[in-house]
Symmetry: C2
Subunit: 266 residues, 2 copies
DNA sequence: AAACGATGTTTCACAGAATAAAACATTGCG
DNA sequence: CGCAATGTTTTATTCTGTGAAACATCGTTT
């Protein structure tokens, strides 16, 4: 436990804890909140007043019960869904890159295409398909296939109804085999592909889940196949799954536990 | 200036002001924020640290610039879009009810139906169609028609392609006349109807706009036609427009100005 | 290349603000 | 009708938030 400098200002931290508690369970009263947070009633009362004045908390005047206020919604909308994902993923991606020294990709689905939200460049120089802001196919690439595997059936049907381009000789374009692959990905909870989108490249992808538990993005470790031995395969898979779990936890209502203290001390 | 009890706790209020500033303009540095908010650099630095630890603020590690963090998105999503609107509207609806003594309705569009988000009962007892949680038509009722008027053309076409029920002898079901009415509503920026959904009732509706400026809801004053003279017509229209503007302002990025201090001292 | 200027980070001492405890008010329930 | 639980207000004390200023780091200019 290295006591790193603590600039935290207690009053603000407590106010934020209050907001989290109200997000976790709305319609709470002063006493209930005070008890569950280990604060005194008067403190909670003052905090709520402050938050309410700015619309971050809303009081039902009849029942004197509090919930999150409209300003939280306005600011959240401003950030956008991708924004939340992106910022939650950022430090985790940095960490994953440092651990693996490979390229890291954060990919979401956009209709029948994949979309690269962010990347981290590994230490080894290799040109891959993935590039932030770029649209790609859904039927090839580690992250893309994983997204397709966890998409609604109607999306899968629509995606497979399109012409399926072969990006390399190894790209799977046979629809029956593709459906089998998707089934396997769902069963495994991850996806590993080799040479299917970029010649000479591998990709190890894990699913990121939103607050409601549905898969909303994939994070993947990608690099040159020549460095991809059995040992790395295991290590990268473990790292990718952990990273995905960490991001998913951040995006859940309960938020990250006390364990996830990532400081990339490169 | 009646100095009402000030329970506001300064540190928290400043932190919230910081969040608002970052929502208004992301990617700001410490100095810029300190200057625009009239705080010292060290204070802003500490506030940002506290906010960052909880994910309410996100720092670009390279450029040392801050934006809203992912937690804001998670909490905002939890509230939902209707939640933000509902909580922003609540005190305004109370105020509008107190001013007019009539029924107040907050209505949104849900596909090709209207949906009553919330109501306030006036002092005079009158049974109206509107009831919280209820779906209604789009082609009749003050608020519903206004929502239709400001909907995308494809929605209007789809709504008018349906069979149009006549709820009273005064309900307009002629499609050409309806389109003329919608045109008028758009031009006026409000809508007043009589007897078209509830026999013997009037409705004065004004548009509520979201952060992006599009019309997302309507607020309306409704009551018995027998009390609806010219003087009240003017007064209700003014009150409804003001209420709609107030709610819209709350939902905008900049938030409510210092003017809007509503305390319903009934 | 050296010096400057701007920015982010850290330190520190003090004022005043946040806090806990307890009294008070209000509401609902038995 | 009284009891119990909750929200609100007050107050005294302490500790924390705060501003000023020093320091570090970076990019730019001369």
């Amino acid at each position: 436990m290295t006591e790193q400098k603590d600039y935290k200002i207690a009053a603000v931290d407590r106010a934020l804890a209050l907001l989290e508690a109200l997000a976790d369970r709305p319609e709470q009263g002063v006493t209930s909140l005070a008890k569950s947070l280990g604060m005194t009633k008067s403190l909670v009362f003052r905090l709520l007043h402050t938050l309410e004045e700015r619309g971050f908390v809303s009081r039902d005047p009849e029942r004197a019960e509090y919930s999150l206020g409209y300003r939280v919604g306005v600011l959240g909308e401003r950030l956008g869904k991708d924004g939340a994902l992106l910022y939650a993923a950022r430090p985790v991606m940095d960490d994953l890159r440092d651990r693996t020294s490979e390229n890291i990709n954060l990919v979401v689905r956009e209709g029948l295409k994949s979309y690269v939200l962010a990347t981290r460049a590994g230490r080894h120089s290799i040109r891959l398909f993935a590039q932030a802001g770029r649209n790609g196919p859904l039927h090839a690439g580690g992250g893309s296939l994983l997204l397709l595997a966890f998409a609604e059936p109607s999306v899968v049907d629509a995606a497979l109804a399109q012409p399926l381009e072969a990006f390399t000789p190894h790209t799977v374009t046979d629809r029956t085999r593709l459906r089998q692959m998707l089934e396997r990905i769902r069963a495994n909870g991850y996806n590993i592909v080799v040479n299917d989108l970029d010649e000479g490249a591998f990709s190890v992808a894990a699913p990121i889940r939103g607050a409601d538990g549905s898969v909303i993005a994939s994070i993947s470790v990608a690099g040159a196949v020549v460095r991809f031995d059995e040992e790395r395969r295991e290590a990268y898979l473990k790292a990718a799954l952990e990273a995905a779990a960490e991001i998913s936890e951040r995006l859940s209502i309960h938020g990250p536990g006390e364990s996830g203290r990532m400081k990339s001390t490169a």
